[in-house]
Amino acid sequence: MTIVSTADLLAILPELLVMAGGCLVLVLDPLTAKDRKDWLAYFSLAVLGAAFVVGYWFMGALTGSPRPAFSGLYVLDAYGAFWKLLLILVSGLVILLAKAHLKLEEIDLPEFYAFILLSLSGMMVMVSGTDLLVIYLGLELMSLSLYVMAGFKRYAPRSLEAAAKYFILGSFSSGILLYGISLLFGRTGSTTLAGIRDGIAGLPPGDPILLMAMGLLVVGFGFKVAAVPFHMWTPDVYEGSPTSVTAYMAVASKAASFAAFLRVFLEALGGIKESWRMLLVAVCIATMVLGNVVAIVQTNIKRMLAYSSIAHAGYALIGLVVADAAGTASVMLYLAIYAFMNLGAFAVVTMLRRGGLEGDEIDDFTGLARRNKWAALVMLLFMFSLAGIPPTAGFIAKFYIFMAAVGANMTGLAVIAVVFAAISAYFYLRVVMVMYMKEPGETAGTPGYDVRVVASPAAIAVLLVAALGVLILGVFPDPLIQAAQSAILPLK
C-alpha cells in the first residue's frame, strides 16, 4: 500500500494546473461581468502558459530516465512531455481562435474554455498513463468534453446532430476498447503496460484471446484516430461541429490518441508485434486510399478537411506499422507539423463568413485572392503544406514518414503512400485554384451571395503562428526532429 507523495503530485503538476484552471473558469464565470467574459479566455491562456513552462522544464530535466509515479500507473518521460507541450500549444491556439469565432457564431459561453481545459487534461493523462485503465479514463475525459463542445451550437440542429453521432459512435468504440482491456486483464493479470508485456511473454504465441483483445484495441483506437473502417463518424462530426471545435478534434484529439496508440502497442503489445502489424498495414492502406479518394468529390471544405484528416491518419499509421525508433519519431514529427497546418486551414475557414453563416463551402473560396490577398496567401500555404509540397513543413513530415518505411524494408507501403499523396494534391490544389483563378461572384450563385473575411486580432495571431510554424519548420526542421528523436519511447 502506497500513499501519495509529493514526488507523485509534482509529476502531474501540469495536469493539475490544467484541471484546476478548468474548474476555476467554471467558478469564475458567474462572478465575471457580462462584458468581461474575455478575461476568462485570457485566464485560460495564462493557465496553459504556466502548464507549458512546467512541461518544458520537465522535458529538459528528464531526457533519458522515465520516472514512474502513482505506483506505476503514470510515468514522467520525455515522450509524454513532448506530446503534452504540443497539446498545450494547440489548445492555446484553439482558445485564441475560439475567442473570435464563438462571438461570430453567437455561442459565446465561457464554459467552452473550461471544456477545452478539461479535455486537454484528459489528453495529457492519456499520453502519460502507463496503465490501460488510466489511459481509458483520460480518453473518456477527452471525448466527453468533445461531445459537449460538438453540440455547443445548441440552436443549430446540425451541431446537435454532430454531437449525437459523435457521442453514440464514441461511446460505442470506447465500450469495445474497454472490453479489449478486460480481456487483456484476464489473460495477463494486469492492466499496467509493463505487466501486460510480462504477461504476454509468458503466454504461448498466437494465443487467441490475446489476439482478440488486440483486435478490439485496434478498433477502439482506430475510432479515435479516424482510421478506415472506423472513420464513418468523422465527416459528419467535423462538418456539424462549430469550426473551432472541429479544429481541436482534428488536431489535438488525433494527436493524443496517436500518442496513446503508440505507447500501448509498442510498450504493452510489443511482444505480438508481428500479428498487429499485419492488421495495421491493411488499416493503414485502406485509410490512405479512402481518405484521399473520397476527399476529391467533397464540396464542403470542412468535409474535405475531414477526409484529408482521415488520409493523414493513414500516413501517420505508417510510423506505427514500422514500429521502430525512426517510426516513432516520424509519427511525433508528423503530428506536430500536421497540427500547425491543419489548425491554420481551419482558422481560415472560421474567418470566412457567408451572410450570417460560416463560409464552409469550397465555392465560398472563389476569388478569395481578390477579396483578401493575405487570407488567400496563408490558405495557399496551408494547402501546399497539407499536400506535402516543399519547402513547406508538410513535405518534411511526409518525407520522414516515408523514409522510416523505406528504412524498415517496407518500400511497398511507402510507394503506395507516395502515390496517394500525389493524388491528394488534386483536391488541395483545387482550393488554391478556386481562390486564385476565378473571379469573385463566379459561383453556383445563391441569392445574396456575399462572402467576406472577418479578421479579428486573435484569429490573425493564430494564423500567424500557424503560418510561421509551417514555413520555419519547412526550412529548419532540425530542432523539432531532434526533439522528437530524443523523446521516442524506449523500445523493448
Binding site: E106, V134, S145, I209
Partner: protein, 175 residues
Amino acid sequence: MVPIFFAYFALVSIVAGLLTVSLRNPVHCGIALLALLGHVAGLFVLLHAEFVAVVQIIIYAGAILILYLFVLMLLNLKTEERYFHRRHAWYITGVGALTVELLMVLLASRFSGAKGPATVAAVEEIGNSTAIGILMFSDYLLPFEIVGVFLLGAIVGAIVLAKTPSPADLSGDER
C-alpha cells in the same frame, strides 16, 4: 447450489439482454435491461464481489436506468420506432460469424491466469468493501482523481447542453 444459481442468473441475463435489443417499446427494453442488471448483480454475488453487486443495483438500476426511463417518458417515445435498420443485415451476419468464432475460442481455452494474492479467503478476512477501498485509495488513487474531474465535466456538460436556449440564441440563424 452454485451451479444452479449460475445457470439461472446466466440464462436470465442472456434472455434479458436479447429482449433489451429486440423489444419494440423502449420502456419495455428498459425494464428488460433492469432484469439483466439485477441478474448480473446476482452473478457478482456468486463471484464473491458483494460490494460491486450492491453498487451495481444502486447505481445502475437505481440511478442510470431511472434516468433512462425518465427521459423516455419525458419525450413520450413509446411508439416512435416502427422498424429496425434493414440495410445493416450484412453487418449482423458478420457479427454472428464472429460470435460463433469467439465462442469456439472461449470453449476451447483452458484458462488459468496468474494467481494473485487476493484469494477469496484473504479478502473475506478484511471484508470485501474494505479490500476494495484500500486498493482504490492507494494504488488506484490517480484514476479516482481523474474520475472526479470526469464527473464534474459530465455534470456541467449535461447542463450546458440541456439548458433551454435563451431567446437571443433562438433568434440566431436556423440552418
